[in-house]
Protein backbone atom coordinates (compact mmCIF):
# COMPACT_ATOMS: atom_id res chain seq x y z
CA UNK A 1 0.00 0.00 0.00
CA UNK A 2 3.04 2.26 -0.04
CA UNK A 3 2.55 3.10 3.64
CA UNK A 4 -0.22 5.67 3.27
CA UNK A 5 -3.81 5.77 2.12
CA UNK A 6 -4.16 6.15 -1.64
CA UNK A 7 -4.79 9.66 -2.88
CA UNK A 8 -7.14 9.59 -5.83
CA UNK A 9 -7.54 13.35 -6.14
CA UNK A 10 -7.40 14.27 -9.81
CA UNK A 11 -4.53 16.72 -9.36
CA UNK A 12 -2.44 14.03 -7.68
CA UNK A 13 -3.10 11.57 -10.50
CA UNK A 14 -2.30 14.20 -13.12
CA UNK A 15 1.00 14.98 -11.39
CA UNK A 16 1.90 11.29 -11.61
CA UNK A 17 1.04 11.29 -15.30
CA UNK A 18 3.13 14.37 -15.99
CA UNK A 19 6.03 12.90 -14.06
CA UNK A 20 5.86 9.68 -16.06
CA UNK A 21 5.50 11.54 -19.33
CA UNK A 22 8.51 13.68 -18.55
CA UNK A 23 10.56 10.73 -17.29
CA UNK A 24 9.83 8.69 -20.40
CA UNK A 25 9.55 11.57 -22.85
CA UNK A 26 6.24 9.94 -23.77
CA UNK A 27 3.23 11.04 -25.76
CA UNK A 28 -0.47 10.41 -24.97
CA UNK A 29 -0.67 12.88 -22.08
CA UNK A 30 -3.93 14.31 -23.38
CA UNK A 31 -5.43 10.83 -23.70
CA UNK A 32 -4.72 10.10 -20.04
CA UNK A 33 -5.87 13.48 -18.76
CA UNK A 34 -9.36 13.16 -20.19
CA UNK A 35 -10.14 10.08 -18.11
CA UNK A 36 -8.49 11.05 -14.81
CA UNK A 37 -11.77 11.82 -13.06
CA UNK A 38 -13.29 8.60 -14.42
CA UNK A 39 -10.62 6.38 -12.89
CA UNK A 40 -10.58 8.49 -9.74
CA UNK A 41 -14.29 7.99 -9.10
CA UNK A 42 -14.18 4.32 -10.05
CA UNK A 43 -11.47 3.60 -7.50
CA UNK A 44 -12.65 5.89 -4.72
CA UNK A 45 -16.40 5.40 -4.83
CA UNK A 46 -17.81 2.99 -7.40
CA UNK A 47 -15.85 -0.23 -7.81
CA UNK A 48 -15.72 -2.94 -5.17
CA UNK A 49 -12.15 -4.16 -5.09
CA UNK A 50 -9.46 -5.38 -2.75
CA UNK A 51 -6.90 -2.59 -2.58
CA UNK A 52 -4.26 -4.89 -1.13
CA UNK A 53 -3.44 -6.43 -4.51
CA UNK A 54 -4.57 -6.28 -8.12
CA UNK A 55 -6.87 -8.92 -9.52
CA UNK A 56 -8.10 -10.47 -6.29
CA UNK A 57 -10.83 -12.92 -7.36
CA UNK A 58 -14.43 -12.18 -6.51
CA UNK A 59 -14.35 -8.42 -6.93
CA UNK A 60 -15.35 -5.95 -9.62
CA UNK A 61 -13.00 -5.54 -12.57
CA UNK A 62 -11.91 -2.62 -14.71
CA UNK A 63 -10.95 -2.96 -18.36
CA UNK A 64 -9.26 -0.04 -20.06
CA UNK A 65 -10.25 -0.62 -23.67
CA UNK A 66 -8.78 2.71 -24.68
CA UNK A 67 -5.20 1.65 -24.07
CA UNK A 68 -3.77 5.06 -24.94
CA UNK A 69 -4.98 6.43 -21.60
CA UNK A 70 -2.97 3.91 -19.60
CA UNK A 71 -0.89 6.49 -17.73
CA UNK A 72 -4.05 7.46 -15.82
CA UNK A 73 -4.34 3.89 -14.56
CA UNK A 74 -0.64 3.70 -13.77
CA UNK A 75 -1.17 6.78 -11.61
CA UNK A 76 -3.99 5.04 -9.74
CA UNK A 77 -1.97 1.87 -9.33
CA UNK A 78 0.93 3.91 -8.01
CA UNK A 79 -1.37 5.33 -5.34
CA UNK A 80 -2.57 1.82 -4.51
CA UNK A 81 1.01 0.61 -4.22
CA UNK A 82 0.46 -1.91 -7.04
CA UNK A 83 3.38 -0.39 -8.91
CA UNK A 84 6.31 1.44 -7.40
CA UNK A 85 7.33 5.06 -7.64
CA UNK A 86 10.52 3.83 -9.30
CA UNK A 87 8.41 2.30 -12.08
CA UNK A 88 7.10 5.80 -12.80
CA UNK A 89 10.55 7.34 -12.44
CA UNK A 90 11.99 4.92 -14.98
CA UNK A 91 9.09 5.02 -17.43
CA UNK A 92 10.32 3.88 -20.86
CA UNK A 93 13.83 3.16 -19.58
CA UNK A 94 15.50 0.05 -20.98
CA UNK A 95 14.22 -3.00 -19.14
CA UNK A 96 11.50 -1.04 -17.32
CA UNK A 97 8.12 -2.45 -16.35
CA UNK A 98 5.53 -0.28 -18.03
CA UNK A 99 4.75 0.13 -21.71
CA UNK A 100 3.12 3.14 -23.29
CA UNK A 101 -0.10 1.26 -23.99
CA UNK A 102 -2.20 -1.05 -21.84
CA UNK A 103 -0.72 -4.57 -21.58
CA UNK A 104 -2.25 -7.57 -19.87
CA UNK A 105 0.98 -8.74 -18.25
CA UNK A 106 0.79 -5.86 -15.74
CA UNK A 107 -1.35 -7.05 -12.83
CA UNK A 108 -4.52 -5.02 -12.69
CA UNK A 109 -4.56 -4.13 -16.39
CA UNK A 110 -6.22 -7.39 -17.51
CA UNK A 111 -6.09 -6.81 -21.28
CA UNK A 112 -3.92 -5.63 -24.14
CA UNK A 113 -5.69 -2.65 -25.61
CA UNK A 114 -3.07 -0.73 -27.50
CA UNK A 115 -4.86 -2.07 -30.54
CA UNK A 116 -8.36 -0.66 -30.35
CA UNK A 117 -11.62 -2.56 -30.29
CA UNK A 118 -10.32 -5.39 -28.10
CA UNK A 119 -11.07 -4.40 -24.53
CA UNK A 120 -14.84 -4.18 -24.72
CA UNK A 121 -15.36 -7.65 -26.27
CA UNK A 122 -13.17 -9.13 -23.52
CA UNK A 123 -15.05 -7.15 -20.87
CA UNK A 124 -18.31 -8.47 -22.30
CA UNK A 125 -16.97 -12.03 -22.11
CA UNK A 126 -15.96 -11.49 -18.49
CA UNK A 127 -19.34 -10.00 -17.59
CA UNK A 128 -21.05 -12.90 -19.33
CA UNK A 129 -18.87 -15.35 -17.40
CA UNK A 130 -19.75 -13.73 -14.07
CA UNK A 131 -23.40 -13.70 -15.03
CA UNK A 132 -23.36 -17.39 -15.94
CA UNK A 133 -21.89 -18.21 -12.56
CA UNK A 134 -24.49 -16.16 -10.73
CA UNK A 135 -21.77 -13.88 -9.38
CA UNK A 136 -22.61 -10.26 -8.64
CA UNK A 137 -19.21 -9.09 -9.85
CA UNK A 138 -19.39 -6.09 -12.14
CA UNK A 139 -17.16 -5.27 -15.06
CA UNK A 140 -16.41 -1.63 -15.85
CA UNK A 141 -14.97 -0.83 -19.23
CA UNK A 142 -13.54 2.53 -20.29
CA UNK A 143 -13.67 3.04 -24.04
CA UNK A 144 -12.64 5.93 -26.24
CA UNK A 145 -15.11 7.78 -28.41
CA UNK A 146 -12.67 7.43 -31.30
CA UNK A 147 -12.33 3.75 -30.47
CA UNK A 148 -16.05 3.41 -31.10
CA UNK A 149 -15.22 3.50 -34.83
CA UNK A 150 -14.16 -0.13 -34.40
CA UNK A 151 -16.63 -2.82 -35.44
CA UNK A 152 -16.03 -5.31 -32.59
CA UNK A 153 -17.23 -2.65 -30.11
CA UNK A 154 -20.68 -2.72 -31.64
CA UNK A 155 -20.61 -6.48 -32.14
CA UNK A 156 -19.95 -7.06 -28.47
CA UNK A 157 -22.59 -4.50 -27.47
CA UNK A 158 -25.16 -6.56 -29.37
CA UNK A 159 -24.08 -9.64 -27.44
CA UNK A 160 -24.15 -7.78 -24.12
CA UNK A 161 -27.71 -6.65 -24.68
CA UNK A 162 -28.85 -10.05 -25.96
CA UNK A 163 -27.58 -11.69 -22.77
CA UNK A 164 -28.88 -8.91 -20.50
CA UNK A 165 -25.50 -8.17 -18.98
CA UNK A 166 -26.61 -5.71 -16.34
CA UNK A 167 -23.27 -6.28 -14.61
CA UNK A 168 -21.50 -4.41 -17.41
CA UNK A 169 -20.90 -0.66 -17.28
CA UNK A 170 -19.31 0.96 -20.33
CA UNK A 171 -17.85 4.41 -19.81
CA UNK A 172 -17.16 6.38 -22.96
CA UNK A 173 -14.35 8.86 -22.56
CA UNK A 174 -16.00 11.25 -24.99
CA UNK A 175 -13.33 13.88 -25.46
CA UNK A 176 -14.34 14.56 -29.04
CA UNK A 177 -10.86 14.15 -30.48
CA UNK A 178 -9.18 11.20 -32.11
CA UNK A 179 -5.73 10.81 -33.56
CA UNK A 180 -6.13 13.02 -36.61
CA UNK A 181 -9.09 15.27 -35.92
CA UNK A 182 -12.46 15.66 -34.26
CA UNK A 183 -14.63 12.59 -33.83
CA UNK A 184 -17.49 14.57 -35.35
CA UNK A 185 -15.43 15.37 -38.41
CA UNK A 186 -14.08 11.86 -38.97
CA UNK A 187 -16.86 9.45 -38.00
CA UNK A 188 -19.69 11.21 -36.23
CA UNK A 189 -21.22 8.85 -33.69
CA UNK A 190 -23.52 11.32 -32.04
CA UNK A 191 -25.97 11.04 -30.50
CA UNK A 192 -23.94 8.53 -28.54
CA UNK A 193 -26.46 7.77 -25.80
CA UNK A 194 -29.20 7.16 -28.34
CA UNK A 195 -26.96 4.73 -30.18
CA UNK A 196 -26.26 2.79 -27.00
CA UNK A 197 -29.97 2.78 -26.23
CA UNK A 198 -30.67 1.57 -29.72
CA UNK A 199 -28.30 -1.30 -29.03
CA UNK A 200 -30.21 -2.26 -25.89
CA UNK A 201 -28.24 -0.39 -23.24
CA UNK A 202 -29.38 2.16 -20.73
CA UNK A 203 -27.30 5.27 -21.26
CA UNK A 204 -26.71 8.62 -19.60
CA UNK A 205 -24.65 11.66 -20.49
CA UNK A 206 -22.67 13.43 -17.82
CA UNK A 207 -19.82 15.84 -17.24
CA UNK A 208 -16.84 13.53 -17.32
CA UNK A 209 -14.79 15.77 -15.07
CA UNK A 210 -17.45 16.16 -12.36
CA UNK A 211 -16.80 13.54 -9.70
CA UNK A 212 -20.31 13.65 -8.28
CA UNK A 213 -22.00 13.43 -11.67
CA UNK A 214 -19.76 10.55 -12.70
CA UNK A 215 -20.55 8.66 -9.50
CA UNK A 216 -24.27 9.01 -10.09
CA UNK A 217 -24.05 8.14 -13.77
CA UNK A 218 -21.93 5.04 -13.21
CA UNK A 219 -24.34 3.63 -10.66
CA UNK A 220 -27.51 4.35 -12.63
CA UNK A 221 -27.65 0.88 -14.22
CA UNK A 222 -31.03 -0.74 -14.63
CA UNK A 223 -31.79 -4.43 -14.08
CA UNK A 224 -31.73 -6.48 -17.26
CA UNK A 225 -29.68 -4.14 -19.40
CA UNK A 226 -26.03 -3.22 -19.77
CA UNK A 227 -25.32 0.37 -18.92
CA UNK A 228 -23.36 3.12 -20.66
CA UNK A 229 -22.08 6.43 -19.35
CA UNK A 230 -21.22 9.00 -21.97
CA UNK A 231 -18.63 10.97 -20.02
CA UNK A 232 -18.19 14.32 -21.73
CA UNK A 233 -14.53 15.05 -21.28
CA UNK A 234 -11.82 17.36 -22.52
CA UNK A 235 -8.65 15.94 -23.98
CA UNK A 236 -5.73 17.29 -21.97
CA UNK A 237 -8.04 18.40 -19.18
CA UNK A 238 -6.36 20.13 -16.24
CA UNK A 239 -3.58 21.97 -18.05
CA UNK A 240 -4.84 24.92 -20.07
CA UNK A 241 -2.36 24.71 -22.92
CA UNK A 242 -3.17 21.04 -23.46
CA UNK A 243 -6.94 21.27 -23.28
CA UNK A 244 -8.76 20.38 -26.48
CA UNK A 245 -5.49 20.38 -28.36
CA UNK A 246 -5.16 17.40 -30.63
CA UNK A 247 -1.39 17.83 -30.68
CA UNK A 248 -1.29 16.72 -27.04
CA UNK A 249 -2.08 13.26 -28.27
CA UNK A 250 1.51 13.34 -29.52
CA UNK A 251 3.52 16.15 -27.89
CA UNK A 252 6.14 15.57 -25.25
CA UNK A 253 6.56 17.82 -22.28
CA UNK A 254 9.68 19.90 -21.70
CA UNK A 255 10.91 21.39 -18.40
CA UNK A 256 9.37 24.83 -19.04
CA UNK A 257 5.96 23.43 -19.90
CA UNK A 258 6.22 21.00 -17.00
CA UNK A 259 6.67 23.91 -14.62
CA UNK A 260 3.68 25.77 -16.06
CA UNK A 261 1.55 22.63 -15.92
CA UNK A 262 2.39 21.93 -12.29
CA UNK A 263 1.60 25.52 -11.32
CA UNK A 264 -1.82 25.15 -12.92
CA UNK A 265 -2.51 21.87 -11.17
CA UNK A 266 -1.51 23.37 -7.82
CA UNK A 267 -3.66 26.43 -8.39
CA UNK A 268 -6.67 24.37 -9.38
CA UNK A 269 -6.28 22.21 -6.30
CA UNK A 270 -6.16 25.24 -4.01
CA UNK A 271 -9.21 26.72 -5.73
CA UNK A 272 -11.20 23.53 -5.22
Amino acid sequence: MGGSAPDFRPATLRRHVLHMAQSGNSQHIGCAFSLIEIVSVLHSAVMRYDASAPGVPGFDQLILSKGHGVMALYAVHRELGWIRQSDLDHYFADGSLLHGLCEARIPGLEVCSGTLGHGLPIAVGMAYGHKRRGSDQKVYCIVGDGEMNEGPMWESMLFAAQHKLDNLVVIVDANGLQAMGTTGGIINLEPFAAKFEGFGFSAVDCDGHDLAQLGVAMTAAEPGRPHAVIARTIKGRGVSFMENKIEWHYLRINPQLMERALVELDAAEVAS
Binding site: C112, T115, H118, P121, V124, G129, E155, S156, F159
Partner: protein, 306 residues
Protein backbone atom coordinates in the same frame (compact mmCIF):
# COMPACT_ATOMS: atom_id res chain seq x y z
CA UNK B 1 -14.34 -37.15 -38.47
CA UNK B 2 -17.19 -34.72 -37.93
CA UNK B 3 -19.19 -37.14 -35.87
CA UNK B 4 -16.09 -37.64 -33.73
CA UNK B 5 -15.70 -33.87 -33.38
CA UNK B 6 -19.35 -33.52 -32.42
CA UNK B 7 -18.94 -36.24 -29.81
CA UNK B 8 -15.70 -34.78 -28.44
CA UNK B 9 -17.44 -31.43 -28.00
CA UNK B 10 -20.48 -32.91 -26.29
CA UNK B 11 -18.34 -35.19 -24.14
CA UNK B 12 -16.16 -32.28 -23.02
CA UNK B 13 -19.27 -30.41 -21.96
CA UNK B 14 -20.45 -33.38 -19.94
CA UNK B 15 -17.10 -33.86 -18.24
CA UNK B 16 -16.38 -30.20 -17.49
CA UNK B 17 -19.08 -27.73 -16.48
CA UNK B 18 -16.66 -24.94 -17.39
CA UNK B 19 -16.41 -26.10 -20.99
CA UNK B 20 -18.28 -23.84 -23.38
CA UNK B 21 -18.62 -24.32 -27.14
CA UNK B 22 -18.85 -20.95 -28.86
CA UNK B 23 -19.77 -20.54 -32.48
CA UNK B 24 -20.18 -17.58 -34.78
CA UNK B 25 -23.40 -19.04 -36.20
CA UNK B 26 -21.57 -21.85 -37.96
CA UNK B 27 -21.65 -25.62 -37.54
CA UNK B 28 -25.33 -26.36 -37.82
CA UNK B 29 -25.38 -30.15 -37.29
CA UNK B 30 -22.02 -30.38 -35.58
CA UNK B 31 -23.46 -29.04 -32.37
CA UNK B 32 -26.54 -31.27 -32.27
CA UNK B 33 -25.07 -33.60 -29.61
CA UNK B 34 -24.02 -30.81 -27.24
CA UNK B 35 -27.25 -28.94 -27.87
CA UNK B 36 -29.28 -31.98 -26.91
CA UNK B 37 -27.10 -33.15 -24.00
CA UNK B 38 -25.72 -29.88 -22.55
CA UNK B 39 -27.65 -27.08 -24.28
CA UNK B 40 -26.59 -24.46 -21.76
CA UNK B 41 -22.94 -25.05 -22.66
CA UNK B 42 -23.38 -24.15 -26.30
CA UNK B 43 -23.42 -20.44 -27.14
CA UNK B 44 -24.13 -19.16 -30.61
CA UNK B 45 -22.51 -15.77 -30.21
CA UNK B 46 -23.81 -14.48 -33.52
CA UNK B 47 -22.13 -13.61 -36.79
CA UNK B 48 -19.32 -11.61 -35.21
CA UNK B 49 -16.03 -13.47 -35.35
CA UNK B 50 -13.92 -10.64 -33.91
CA UNK B 51 -16.08 -10.18 -30.83
CA UNK B 52 -16.40 -13.97 -30.59
CA UNK B 53 -12.69 -14.30 -29.87
CA UNK B 54 -12.69 -11.41 -27.40
CA UNK B 55 -15.71 -12.84 -25.59
CA UNK B 56 -13.99 -16.24 -25.46
CA UNK B 57 -10.92 -14.56 -23.96
CA UNK B 58 -13.11 -12.87 -21.33
CA UNK B 59 -14.77 -16.18 -20.51
CA UNK B 60 -11.38 -17.86 -20.20
CA UNK B 61 -10.32 -15.10 -17.82
CA UNK B 62 -13.30 -15.91 -15.62
CA UNK B 63 -12.46 -19.61 -15.43
CA UNK B 64 -14.29 -21.06 -18.40
CA UNK B 65 -12.73 -23.39 -20.98
CA UNK B 66 -13.96 -22.04 -24.31
CA UNK B 67 -13.87 -23.78 -27.65
CA UNK B 68 -14.16 -21.32 -30.52
CA UNK B 69 -15.50 -22.85 -33.70
CA UNK B 70 -15.44 -21.34 -37.14
CA UNK B 71 -14.57 -22.06 -40.70
CA UNK B 72 -10.80 -21.91 -41.08
CA UNK B 73 -11.22 -19.01 -43.49
CA UNK B 74 -12.63 -16.99 -40.56
CA UNK B 75 -11.09 -18.65 -37.49
CA UNK B 76 -8.13 -18.10 -37.51
CA UNK B 77 -7.74 -15.99 -40.66
CA UNK B 78 -10.22 -13.23 -40.05
CA UNK B 79 -9.45 -12.92 -36.35
CA UNK B 80 -5.72 -13.37 -36.29
CA UNK B 81 -5.05 -10.21 -34.28
CA UNK B 82 -7.70 -11.10 -31.69
CA UNK B 83 -6.10 -14.52 -31.30
CA UNK B 84 -2.68 -12.93 -30.93
CA UNK B 85 -3.51 -10.19 -28.44
CA UNK B 86 -6.63 -11.39 -26.62
CA UNK B 87 -5.69 -15.05 -26.25
CA UNK B 88 -2.03 -15.86 -26.96
CA UNK B 89 -0.61 -12.88 -25.09
CA UNK B 90 -2.20 -14.06 -21.85
CA UNK B 91 -1.78 -17.77 -22.71
CA UNK B 92 -5.49 -18.29 -22.20
CA UNK B 93 -6.84 -21.84 -22.55
CA UNK B 94 -8.94 -21.37 -25.67
CA UNK B 95 -9.27 -24.17 -28.23
CA UNK B 96 -9.84 -22.95 -31.77
CA UNK B 97 -11.37 -25.23 -34.36
CA UNK B 98 -10.94 -24.19 -37.99
CA UNK B 99 -13.30 -26.32 -40.02
CA UNK B 100 -13.33 -26.88 -43.75
CA UNK B 101 -9.65 -26.02 -44.14
CA UNK B 102 -8.24 -26.31 -47.61
CA UNK B 103 -10.43 -26.18 -50.69
CA UNK B 104 -13.28 -28.39 -49.56
CA UNK B 105 -15.82 -25.58 -49.85
CA UNK B 106 -15.06 -25.66 -53.53
CA UNK B 107 -18.38 -24.45 -54.86
CA UNK B 108 -18.58 -21.56 -52.38
CA UNK B 109 -15.45 -19.96 -53.70
CA UNK B 110 -12.30 -18.46 -52.33
CA UNK B 111 -13.93 -16.66 -49.38
CA UNK B 112 -14.63 -20.03 -47.76
CA UNK B 113 -11.41 -21.74 -48.80
CA UNK B 114 -8.34 -21.58 -46.62
CA UNK B 115 -4.79 -22.43 -47.64
CA UNK B 116 -2.98 -20.36 -45.01
CA UNK B 117 -4.30 -21.14 -41.52
CA UNK B 118 -1.24 -23.04 -40.30
CA UNK B 119 1.10 -20.44 -41.75
CA UNK B 120 -0.84 -17.64 -40.09
CA UNK B 121 -0.77 -19.22 -36.63
CA UNK B 122 2.74 -20.65 -36.52
CA UNK B 123 4.47 -17.42 -35.45
CA UNK B 124 2.04 -16.73 -32.58
CA UNK B 125 3.68 -17.48 -29.22
CA UNK B 126 2.25 -20.37 -27.17
CA UNK B 127 -0.12 -21.53 -29.92
CA UNK B 128 -0.26 -25.29 -30.43
CA UNK B 129 -1.28 -26.43 -33.93
CA UNK B 130 -2.77 -29.75 -34.95
CA UNK B 131 -3.77 -30.91 -38.43
CA UNK B 132 -5.36 -34.37 -38.03
CA UNK B 133 -6.31 -36.59 -40.97
CA UNK B 134 -9.02 -38.78 -39.48
CA UNK B 135 -11.18 -39.34 -36.42
CA UNK B 136 -8.43 -40.98 -34.39
CA UNK B 137 -5.87 -38.28 -35.07
CA UNK B 138 -8.57 -35.74 -34.27
CA UNK B 139 -9.38 -37.42 -30.98
CA UNK B 140 -5.72 -37.50 -29.93
CA UNK B 141 -5.31 -33.85 -30.94
CA UNK B 142 -8.45 -32.69 -29.19
CA UNK B 143 -7.70 -34.52 -25.95
CA UNK B 144 -4.14 -33.26 -25.84
CA UNK B 145 -5.21 -29.70 -26.63
CA UNK B 146 -7.82 -29.81 -23.87
CA UNK B 147 -5.22 -31.02 -21.39
CA UNK B 148 -2.89 -28.10 -22.15
CA UNK B 149 -3.18 -24.81 -20.33
CA UNK B 150 -2.67 -22.47 -23.27
CA UNK B 151 -4.21 -21.84 -26.68
CA UNK B 152 -4.51 -24.52 -29.37
CA UNK B 153 -5.76 -24.76 -32.91
CA UNK B 154 -7.09 -27.82 -34.66
CA UNK B 155 -7.32 -27.69 -38.44
CA UNK B 156 -10.26 -29.81 -39.46
CA UNK B 157 -10.78 -30.78 -43.06
CA UNK B 158 -14.06 -32.02 -44.38
CA UNK B 159 -12.84 -34.07 -47.27
CA UNK B 160 -14.36 -37.38 -46.12
CA UNK B 161 -11.44 -39.35 -47.47
CA UNK B 162 -10.97 -42.83 -45.98
CA UNK B 163 -9.62 -43.02 -42.45
CA UNK B 164 -5.99 -44.04 -42.14
CA UNK B 165 -6.19 -45.43 -38.63
CA UNK B 166 -8.32 -48.30 -37.43
CA UNK B 167 -7.61 -47.90 -33.73
CA UNK B 168 -7.17 -45.00 -31.31
CA UNK B 169 -3.79 -43.31 -31.08
CA UNK B 170 -2.14 -42.92 -27.71
CA UNK B 171 -0.14 -39.81 -28.61
CA UNK B 172 0.16 -37.01 -31.13
CA UNK B 173 3.62 -38.12 -32.24
CA UNK B 174 4.42 -38.50 -35.91
CA UNK B 175 4.01 -42.10 -37.04
CA UNK B 176 4.36 -44.23 -40.13
CA UNK B 177 1.01 -45.09 -41.64
CA UNK B 178 2.98 -47.59 -43.73
CA UNK B 179 6.62 -48.61 -43.48
CA UNK B 180 7.98 -51.29 -45.82
CA UNK B 181 11.36 -51.41 -44.14
CA UNK B 182 14.79 -49.94 -44.21
CA UNK B 183 15.59 -50.08 -47.92
CA UNK B 184 13.72 -46.95 -48.99
CA UNK B 185 15.62 -43.67 -49.20
CA UNK B 186 12.47 -41.64 -49.83
CA UNK B 187 9.56 -40.99 -47.44
CA UNK B 188 6.20 -39.44 -48.13
CA UNK B 189 5.22 -36.96 -45.39
CA UNK B 190 1.78 -35.46 -45.04
CA UNK B 191 -0.74 -33.74 -42.81
CA UNK B 192 -4.51 -33.45 -42.53
CA UNK B 193 -6.53 -34.23 -45.64
CA UNK B 194 -3.48 -35.37 -47.64
CA UNK B 195 -2.49 -38.20 -45.32
CA UNK B 196 -5.06 -40.54 -46.81
CA UNK B 197 -3.74 -39.71 -50.29
CA UNK B 198 -0.16 -40.12 -49.09
CA UNK B 199 -0.96 -43.47 -47.53
CA UNK B 200 -2.45 -44.76 -50.78
CA UNK B 201 0.61 -43.57 -52.69
CA UNK B 202 2.90 -45.22 -50.16
CA UNK B 203 1.15 -48.54 -50.68
CA UNK B 204 1.34 -48.17 -54.44
CA UNK B 205 5.05 -47.37 -54.52
CA UNK B 206 6.14 -49.42 -51.54
CA UNK B 207 7.46 -46.31 -49.82
CA UNK B 208 7.09 -45.32 -46.18
CA UNK B 209 4.50 -42.69 -45.31
CA UNK B 210 4.80 -40.50 -42.24
CA UNK B 211 1.81 -38.64 -40.80
CA UNK B 212 2.73 -35.43 -38.97
CA UNK B 213 -0.33 -33.95 -37.35
CA UNK B 214 1.12 -31.92 -34.51
CA UNK B 215 2.78 -29.05 -36.33
CA UNK B 216 3.59 -26.90 -33.32
CA UNK B 217 5.37 -27.78 -31.26
CA UNK B 218 6.47 -30.18 -33.96
CA UNK B 219 5.68 -33.73 -32.89
CA UNK B 220 8.56 -35.32 -31.03
CA UNK B 221 10.73 -37.78 -32.95
CA UNK B 222 9.63 -36.42 -36.34
CA UNK B 223 13.16 -35.58 -37.37
CA UNK B 224 14.47 -38.78 -35.86
CA UNK B 225 12.01 -40.80 -37.89
CA UNK B 226 13.02 -38.90 -41.02
CA UNK B 227 16.77 -39.00 -40.43
CA UNK B 228 17.28 -42.16 -42.46
CA UNK B 229 15.84 -40.71 -45.66
CA UNK B 230 17.70 -38.82 -48.34
CA UNK B 231 14.58 -37.43 -49.92
CA UNK B 232 11.10 -36.46 -48.81
CA UNK B 233 7.88 -36.03 -50.72
CA UNK B 234 5.62 -33.65 -48.81
CA UNK B 235 1.88 -33.54 -49.42
CA UNK B 236 -0.19 -30.76 -47.94
CA UNK B 237 -3.49 -29.12 -48.81
CA UNK B 238 -2.02 -25.81 -47.70
CA UNK B 239 0.03 -23.03 -49.14
CA UNK B 240 3.67 -23.84 -49.84
CA UNK B 241 4.45 -20.94 -47.51
CA UNK B 242 4.41 -21.78 -43.82
CA UNK B 243 2.78 -25.20 -43.85
CA UNK B 244 4.16 -28.69 -43.32
CA UNK B 245 7.09 -28.48 -45.74
CA UNK B 246 8.17 -25.17 -44.21
CA UNK B 247 7.80 -26.57 -40.72
CA UNK B 248 9.97 -29.56 -41.54
CA UNK B 249 12.64 -27.45 -43.25
CA UNK B 250 12.71 -25.06 -40.29
CA UNK B 251 13.07 -27.96 -37.88
CA UNK B 252 15.96 -29.53 -39.80
CA UNK B 253 17.73 -26.17 -39.86
CA UNK B 254 17.10 -25.51 -36.17
CA UNK B 255 18.51 -28.93 -35.28
CA UNK B 256 21.61 -28.33 -37.38
CA UNK B 257 20.72 -31.23 -39.66
CA UNK B 258 21.05 -31.33 -43.41
CA UNK B 259 17.72 -30.56 -45.02
CA UNK B 260 16.84 -33.52 -47.21
CA UNK B 261 15.77 -33.00 -50.76
CA UNK B 262 12.06 -32.22 -50.77
CA UNK B 263 9.48 -32.60 -53.47
CA UNK B 264 6.56 -30.49 -52.22
CA UNK B 265 3.05 -30.97 -53.52
CA UNK B 266 1.03 -28.12 -52.07
CA UNK B 267 -1.51 -25.52 -53.06
CA UNK B 268 -0.21 -23.01 -55.55
CA UNK B 269 -0.11 -19.27 -55.20
CA UNK B 270 -3.46 -18.40 -56.69
CA UNK B 271 -7.14 -18.38 -55.76
CA UNK B 272 -9.73 -20.72 -57.21
CA UNK B 273 -10.45 -19.68 -60.76
CA UNK B 274 -13.57 -21.62 -61.71
CA UNK B 275 -16.37 -23.30 -59.84
CA UNK B 276 -16.55 -27.05 -59.44
CA UNK B 277 -16.23 -30.07 -57.19
CA UNK B 278 -13.63 -30.42 -54.44
CA UNK B 279 -11.51 -32.56 -56.73
CA UNK B 280 -11.90 -29.97 -59.48
CA UNK B 281 -10.78 -27.17 -57.14
CA UNK B 282 -7.74 -29.23 -56.16
CA UNK B 283 -6.99 -29.87 -59.84
CA UNK B 284 -6.51 -26.15 -60.39
CA UNK B 285 -3.45 -26.65 -58.17
CA UNK B 286 -2.53 -30.01 -59.74
CA UNK B 287 -3.54 -31.48 -56.41
CA UNK B 288 -6.58 -33.64 -57.16
CA UNK B 289 -6.22 -37.23 -56.01
CA UNK B 290 -5.68 -38.25 -59.66
CA UNK B 291 -3.16 -35.43 -60.20
CA UNK B 292 -1.16 -36.58 -57.21
CA UNK B 293 -1.12 -40.18 -58.36
CA UNK B 294 0.13 -39.06 -61.76
CA UNK B 295 2.70 -36.60 -60.43
CA UNK B 296 4.13 -39.09 -57.99
CA UNK B 297 4.41 -41.77 -60.68
CA UNK B 298 6.30 -39.35 -62.90
CA UNK B 299 8.48 -38.13 -60.07
CA UNK B 300 9.31 -41.59 -58.79
CA UNK B 301 9.97 -42.93 -62.28
CA UNK B 302 12.69 -40.30 -62.62
CA UNK B 303 13.91 -40.66 -59.03
CA UNK B 304 13.02 -44.08 -57.60
CA UNK B 305 12.74 -44.19 -53.86
CA UNK B 306 15.25 -47.02 -53.45
Amino acid sequence: MRSMLAELIAGSAERDPNFLALSGDHGYALFDPIRSRRPEQFVNVGIMEQALVGIAAGLAKTGYRPLVYGLAAFVPLRVLEQIKMDVCYSRLPVLFIGDGAGLVYSTLGSSHQCAEDVAALRPLPYMRIYAPCDAYELKASFEEAMSCAGPSYIRVGKSDRPAVNTAPLTATDAYFTFDPGLAADTCIVSMSSMTSVAHAAALEHGLPSLSVFRLKPLAEHTLGLLARFKRLIVLEEHSRFGGLASTLADAFIDEGMNVPGMKVLSLQEHFSEHCGSYQYALSEHEMSDADIVKRLRTHLAAAPGY
